[in-house]
């Protein structure tokens, strides 16, 4: 049993950290509901009936390009999660289940990707994307993000795939399943909690990323929301209402996705699906 004093200390520290982390977000959300004067006049106070205003939200949703930025972000994040999970799980299954010649070497090669930051290769990535005629497309972003996230997801998923009892795969083979069916009907359902973890890991940096959208899809209506807001900031440099409202709404989709995945995560942990 932990002593109550140290428990209080731990909770105190964690609480302080939480407050610190959430404070800027709270500030953004609070101020997004205020009139312009109030944002500058009383930045730290809650909106009151006299200062309350939805002008920022009206502007953001009145601008049709902002809506399409949202759609872009959701497409990129969703596509990346899907491809990362699919290929990550497939590679993890192949590397753990089958013994072939370059197995270990290949696993090692893939894990190098975890250590080398993908941004070091930005110049070559731009060249590659230009060569492929994919500049200013969402496909470019999805491909790059998938490549960026695959190494870690393979690493994590391999651990989980390895925990699936061998008997289970062999029982499935006796039941007449092809190797593909074993993957889709036995392996995937059993590593669902791990996939939720990987999805969360993948989703947040991709959603928040500014670097690759700026390099690979900066114009042509293919901007993601993070980039879209930046341009917004340049255009209406004084219009803080719109910026804060756009930022506040940008939190929502990723929050929803997180809730979905984290529920999977908890369900997975408690059900003990992988024995």
């Amino acid at each position: 049993m932990r002593k109550p004093a140290s428990a209080i200390a731990v909770h105190g520290i964690l609480g302080l950290y939480t407050a610190l982390a959430l404070f800027p977000i709270l500030l953004v959300i609070m101020n997004s509901f205020k009139a312009r004067n109030a944002i500058f006049g009383q930045p730290l106070s809650l909106p009151t009936p006299s200062t309350f205003s939805l002008i920022g939200y009206n502007k953001v949703f009145g601008d049709s390009s902002v809506v399409s930025y949202y759609v872009n972000s959701i497409t990129v994040t969703g596509g990346t999660i899907f491809l990362t999970l699919l290929f990550g799980a497939m590679a993890a299954w192949a590397l753990t289940e089958y013994k072939f010649r370059w197995n270990t070497l290949l696993a090692l090669y893939l894990s190098i990707g975890i250590m080398v930051p993908i941004r070091l290769g930005s110049v070559s990535i731009i060249q590659l994307i230009v060569e492929m005629n994919l500049i200013n497309t969402l496909t470019a972003l999805i491909l790059v993000y998938t490549a960026q996230n695959l190494p870690l997801s393979i690493f994590i998923l391999s651990e989980f795939v390895a925990q699936i009892p061998k008997d289970l795969r062999e029982a499935a083979r006796c039941d007449g399943l092809s190797e593909y069916s074993i993957f889709f009907f036995i392996v995937l359902p059993l590593i669902r909690p791990a996939m939720a973890t990987v999805a969360v890991f993948t989703m947040i940096p991709v959603w928040n990323d500014l670097w690759f959208p700026l390099l690979l899809a900066p114009t042509g209506g293919k901007q993601t929301i993070t980039l879209g807001i930046q341009q917004f900031l340049g255009q209406y440099i004084t219009d803080w209402n719109a910026v804060l409202s756009a930022l506040s709404t940008a939190i929502i989709p990723v929050l929803i996705l997180y809730v979905i995945f984290s529920r999977q995560l908890i369900r997975g942990l408690t059900s003990g699906a992988v024995k």
Binding site: P165, D167, L168, E170, A171, A172, R173, C174, D175, G176, L177, S181, F185, I186, P189, L190, S271, G272, A273, V274, K275
Partner: protein, 355 residues
Amino acid sequence: MSEVRIAKLFKSYGNVEILKDINLTVEDGAFVVLVGPSGCGKSTLLRCIAGLEPITSGTMTIGGKQVNDLPPAKREIAMVFQSYALYPHMDVYGNMAFGLKFAKVPKADIDRRVNEAARILQLEPLLKRRPRELSGGQRQRVAIGRAIVRKPQVFLFDEPLSNLDAALRINTRVEIAKLHKMLKATITYVTHDQVEAMTLADKIVVMNKGRIEQTGKPLDLYYRPVNLFVAGFIGSPAMNFLVAAAKKRDTLDLGDGHELAVKLPAACKVGDKVTLGCRPEHMTFGGSGKLKLTGTVDIIERLGESGFAYVRLPSGQTIIAEVRGDPKHGNGDKVDVALDAAQLHFFNSDGMRIE
């Protein structure tokens, strides 16, 4: 006909030979038990029959069809694993129906077969449960049910009772025996437990170090083991072995002062080294007669109606003799152990039985 025939089967991993020259026939409707110490290759042989391991050379036919290169699903076998290997994300019904769905069996047919199996195995109230909500014995029954619904030519059991507690093990053993009678199924069953082997089998295959040592009916193996390994493996506690020299045609010299007046088999010559085998249950603790050994009691294990005495001979070797009732002897007492002359086994210096 669902007969399994294995001829000249070899199996190796790299340079290591796991199975050597296996010749075995599992007759249609027979219950064959593969038994042996761990690492003897019995599970590997079963997995070769299942098609989960490729064989290095030899032939294997199931129901007259050569299956050497067929995948497990095409061999018309069903395997029950030691760990049950139930799909954790499906309910009991789903577990049993899963293979059939992939075999494109019509839905009504699947339903009928699963319900039939559930009825036989008394799983009807559990069909909607997940494996984790079942007890060990129930999981075991589901695993058997999953095998039954596939109507295989051959059932393969890989130590199916090892994960159950003692009471349940005996119960399930009886259930499996009943099931075999009812389904008239051809079964190959792997175990390291010789009680399971003796009680279930029509035919026992004793394996050691990748070879088949002896194949035969349970009591044949008990009464006429072909070599020292089988003699020592079948029966519990194990048979006592005494190394002796044939002094005369009717006298064995144990070399520690004991001379036993036994009629030696014809194949045995004077001067030969002979290993004499006698099971604990064929020895009478505190008995008398011409054929007896004298030693000191080390310890007596009393199990109730009977028990086992560990008796140290002058040579230092300990023999185990069955004790009936409650003997008055205590530890350290000198005692005579009488041997049943009709139940002696003789082995030559190569460890082979001589008659």
